[in-house]
Symmetry: C2
Subunit: 421 residues, 2 copies
Amino acid sequence: MPETAVATSFTDKLTASREAARALATATTAQKNTALRAIADAVLRNQARVLQANELDLANGRDNGLSAGLQDRLRLDEKRLIALSQAVLEIVALPDPVGDVVRGSSLENGLQLTQIRVPFGVVGAIYEARPNVTIDIAALALKSGNAVVLRGGTAAENTNRVLVEVIQSALEEAGLPIDSVQTIDEFGREGAKELMRARGFVDVLIPRGSADLINSVVAESTVPVIETGAGVVHIYLDESADLENSVAIVHNAKVQRPSVCNALETLLVNAASAPRLLPPVLAKLRESGVTVHGDSRTLELFPDALPATDEDWSTEYMSLDVAVRVVDDLDEALDHIRQYSTHHTESIITNDLARAERFLAEVDSAVVMVNASTRFTDGGEFGFGAEVGISTQKLHARGPMGLPELTSTKWVVRGSGQVRG
Amino acid sequence: MPETAVATSFTDKLTASREAARALATATTAQKNTALRAIADAVLRNQARVLQANELDLANGRDNGLSAGLQDRLRLDEKRLIALSQAVLEIVALPDPVGDVVRGSSLENGLQLTQIRVPFGVVGAIYEARPNVTIDIAALALKSGNAVVLRGGTAAENTNRVLVEVIQSALEEAGLPIDSVQTIDEFGREGAKELMRARGFVDVLIPRGSADLINSVVAESTVPVIETGAGVVHIYLDESADLENSVAIVHNAKVQRPSVCNALETLLVNAASAPRLLPPVLAKLRESGVTVHGDSRTLELFPDALPATDEDWSTEYMSLDVAVRVVDDLDEALDHIRQYSTHHTESIITNDLARAERFLAEVDSAVVMVNASTRFTDGGEFGFGAEVGISTQKLHARGPMGLPELTSTKWVVRGSGQVRG
């Protein structure tokens, strides 16, 4: 394949990805780790080139009125590049899922069955203004034996193009196909749409970004999608909740990093314990600058709160805001969660065994917790190493996704002439 | 909920399904088995009513020029009802996947993690003219704790309506929500389309039927889909293939049940062994009435063959026809399979260890075999009991699907006040 991408057609690119995927599927762990180390090294060696391209994107962003938040996501600097390079080396240290035996058996007729993990093949990624995702997804895909086709969006186009060139030269150095990692940014929005319909070329598509982006990929894609969705995360303080735990867990879940999907958004409190728990819990939040949006019963106990509207219950603030509602009992808490949860993470603070078990059984979320901060819903915290994302869908993967979630399986049947009777 | 479905709106029906799913998710295995036994019994007790409705559908089918094959699929009789009832009892005997612990660990901070199997929630099924699927899918969904919404198509509308009524009365008898199993046939094609877009109501959609049906569901659905696709299944006879095994396996794979997806469609033979293997292998097929569509080298060795066209290589005959091609080596066989396979099942007949391993590693199909008939790709043969279908996609499930493939998972985290540092 020619190294200059401009002259290459969309279909040629995807065909090259499929061919690269074939080679990657049988690459050894050592080969893949060599390539990853070369990428970690190349990201640092090419710092000047990468930052120059990033400056261009940032200047365009300023001209086009890109929000301060997006500009911050878009920005790379020496420190961030070092962290990205380090993250790639951490993926080197993780176990390779390919070839793992999931289960197996010997049948009565002597056939030997094993179900083993195999790469998906070609993974597509659609994301926005986050050049770190370019490196992250490329490294995770390579380690799990997948080729990857990236659509990183116009705002980061220059940065991503240079990053992909850097990755490709590292792949060449390490003897793996350079087409293992490709960008289709040069095909614009039309390319993104073609990617969503590239059945037979792309095995799975992972959108990362805003709810709008994810919804549009889900609506338009005929390629199977793994969704990493939003988190309207709840904590319920039961009447038996320990005060100290309630204060510490609610504070940690809301304040430690409010901009992420596992941060607390809505606090539910049992009416019987609200007078005991709410004032100290909310006072502690206020110390950290949290704005409380409360229902009428919350306002009685904590007059500093703003009145909550219906919209608050379904809002993922991602900021130092929290919605608070007093409920009569566990049933009302479960009803509220059923109505407003995005099925990401919910936690109950309680010392009552029966209600704890009911909460765990009846809340239909990727992660359900007792007496723990919702901030623990995280691939790193769960011990998976690098995180592909947190799936809020039920198909294939649910909750934090590690490398095994980037694989499919294959049944291997070894016989000695068996036929079916 | 009212028992008369006609007056109920589409959204009301799906809301009722969600509520039923909540109850099913925490139903015990004993409760679910009681309901399944009641269904097995009710199918037999209501034979007259079911067969009367089926007669009406068959009469409509004859009037509307339904093909003989579809009429046969549509037809129920006493024997088929007994077999259906028996199949439900076999599902009673299978282990309940719900609550199974997939994996777990204790983290350094004392958090206890377990990943457990939970029902999807609401499963949608879209199929055509096959009333047996109504019973099968309903029973499999119930056993795995799922509510199910059925769209069985106009041709079987009367039969399916009565079957669902019979199932619902059995559910009521057993104390499970009658809305656990519903049909939306009364909403016609528009209802099928709404089902495909019912995100938040339906967790997974399983199309069963023709390639056209499956492709249209994949294209239109925003609900995640599990595909059960076609099988253009290959066997490759390597130069070291044992003659007796080759004759027996090829015959079994083609002739034992030609109308199913795991039956052989294309035979590839190494050129060096073609003179030794092809004449006896094809003579044995001819004895069973198989028509051979061969390439030029096959025609030289077996003049009875018809010349194969390009179309033959991508045809799933599902009949007593087989395409045969002589290839120079394993590479050419792998290239052919890569180009034409539907990634269902492929088998190599060989005594060469290195080539066997290469075939297993490089063929990208749900099931890859050495020295065994492709007819073994089957949930029953694999020991899964009843079969949901054979997935030819890579997401969530690949190959024969049993009850566990009708479940998702949930992470349960038990703490004692842990917060993230």
